[in-house]
């Protein structure tokens, strides 16, 4: 709880902020976003500590972190994280591969789009969780049905993102490629791929978000390990601190993996306005 002291000092800067707008935007603004959750957490901690509430249903942060530390100490936590990451990773990989391939085909060939897209759009209209009973009947309650469910969740945003990105590439830029007599593969590599990359990265991030959402659903349905299992276990045994611990770890992992995609894409997207600020004009 020491770390919030500098944060509070940082956040007092906006009052004098006009003088140093660049420093403010670089450091203080993201910190500003931390202010509210930190105040709430600290406030709740104080409320429980001073005895205003026993904090049984809403455990204070200290108890949540203690639970995390316990789980980590016994090695349990790593096992659950590994199980969940494995499911998300596989589901994400399959969803991305299928979404990218079909999206690219639909975006590239209008005939394939006419054949394929209406079906995909119709399937998309089905709330994905409605598939769960069917997947369990078909694939059993173990890993396969979970991974397929996650893959389905990841598939749609990636498919839509890739197809939309290809369809919206400026025809005029293709013409530049034609003037320089690029071959088909060169056209794809030198014009199409760089042009669709920004939208693709966005769709990957949306897909990953859905992957995390669906892994929770999949693990709530039945699992003997995984962060979702921790949630369910915490509910059944009345351990709210364990539920909140799992939630916190979900949040951290979700943010971390999202950030990894962003980081991996950054070198290729420096040309965009959004990333240009770091370079300085």
């Amino acid at each position: 709880m020491i770390s919030d002291v500098p944060v509070l000092q940082q956040s007092s800067e906006p009052a004098e902020g006009v003088a140093a707008p660049s420093r403010l935007s670089r450091y203080a603004r993201p910190m500003l976003g931390l202010l509210l959750p930190l105040i709430l957490a600290l406030g709740w901690e104080l409320v429980v500590w001073s005895g205003w509430s026993n904090g049984r249903l809403v455990p204070p942060p200290s108890r949540v972190f203690a639970t995390i530390a316990d789980l980590a100490g016994s090695g349990e936590l790593l096992r659950h994280i590994a199980a969940t990451m494995w499911r998300v990773g596989l589901g994400f990989a399959f969803g991305v591969i299928a979404g990218t391939l079909l999206g690219a085909i639909s975006g590239y060939w209008s005939l394939a789009r006419r054949l394929l897209d209406p079906t995909v759009q119709a399937l998309r209209a089905i709330p994905s969780l409605a598939w769960v009973p069917l997947f369990i009947l078909w694939l059993g309650i173990f890993e396969t049905s979970k991974i397929v469910l996650i893959a389905v969740g990841v598939f749609f945003p990636v498919y839509l993102g890739v197809m939309g990105a290809i369809l919206s590439v400026d025809r005029k830029i293709f013409e530049v490629g034609r003037v320089f007599r690029l071959s088909g593969p060169a056209m794809i590599r030198r014009i199409l791929l760089p042009a669709v990359l920004p939208a693709y990265v966005v769709s990957l991030r949306v897909g990953l978000g859905l992957g995390w959402m669906f892994v929770v659903a999949a693990e709530l349905i039945g699992a003997s390990e995984g962060l979702g299992y921790l949630l369910l276990d915490g509910q059944q045994l009345g351990k709210p601190a364990q539920i909140m611990a799992a939630i916190v770890i979900f949040a951290i992992l979700g943010k971390l993996t999202d950030w990894l995609i962003e980081l991996a894409a950054m070198p290729f997207l420096r040309w965009q306005d959004a990333f240009g600020r770091t370079k300085g004009a």
Partner: protein, 261 residues
């Protein structure tokens, strides 16, 4: 020599955009094509570039029929059409992928200096002004050393001052290797300052109406009376091309005839 023989174009939607356009353009000549909007200038240029195929008639460069983009023919569009994900230097080198890296770097560096953007080599296209971006587009088209460079209203989106600057600059670059330039414009001043010959087109269907030789030495003085005279004759011809009551003149008779008044 670039030979256009009765080039016609009817679009799939039935628009008769170009009708029997014939012209012969010598190597190194600068030709301006001028005419009202919609009279088929872009259609003609795209046919020469090999981007669209003529419905009938032929385009030949030194005896070779042009039906698809050709290494010896470059084109510059109204918009710079730079690739936003490539640096300025990489944009200029875009057409040089076949060369060795060192050779490409060398050519790009020289082109950058030549268009006065050496300090922008590593900039992104979005960081350029309109005039700078169009200069990069010119460098990109010129660096593979085309024999024919087509320009479709290349300066029309720029302010008058930048436009003049780029016109002079284009002439300067042209003098290096003397490619054939075919420049579509709607700016009479631009046509007279740049061209050896001005082709005037008339619409519906797009066709050649008149041609005017500009017998002025370079560099040209935009304020000289002679310059004004040429401008006036191009303007008069342009007015007549838009006047439906004026019959088609046989524009294939050869040069010089435009001086009849």
């Amino acid at each position: 020599m670039l030979a256009l023989d009765r080039v016609s174009k009817t679009y799939p939607n039935g628009v008769h955009a170009l009708a029997r356009f014939s012209a012969e353009i010598k190597q190194g000549e600068i030709v301006a094509i001028i005419g009202g909007s919609g009279c088929g200038k872009s259609t003609l240029l795209r046919a020469i570039a090999g981007l669209d195929r003529a419905s009938s008639g032929t385009v030949t460069l030194d005896g070779e029929a042009i039906t698809s983009p050709h290494a010896k023919i470059g084109i510059i569009f109204q918009e710079p059409r730079l690739l936003p994900w490539l640096s300025v230097a990489d944009n200029i080198g875009f057409g040089l992928a076949d060369l060795l890296a060192a050779e490409r770097r060398d050519k790009v560096a020289r082109a950058l200096t030549r268009v006065g953007l050496a300090d922008k080599a590593q900039a992104w296209p979005r960081e350029l002004s309109g005039g700078q971006a169009q200069r990069v587009a010119i460098a990109r088209a010129l660096v593979p050393q085309p024999e024919v460079l087509l320009l479709d209203e290349p300066f029309s989106a720029l302010d008058a001052f930048t436009r003049r600057d780029l016109q002079d600059h284009l002439l300067d670059l042209w003098a290096d290797t003397r490619p054939t330039l075919i420049l579509v414009t709607h700016d009479v001043d631009e046509a007279v300052v740049l061209a050896d010959r001005v082709l005037v087109m008339r619409p519906r269907p797009g066709r050649l109406f008149d041609q005017i030789e500009i017998n002025l030495t370079r560099p040209r003085d935009r304020n000289s009376p002679l310059f004004e005279n040429f401008k006036r004759s191009v303007l008069t011809s342009l007015d007549r091309s838009l006047d439906r009551s004026v019959p088609d003149r046989d524009a294939t008779q050869g040069p010089g005839q435009a001086m009849w008044w």
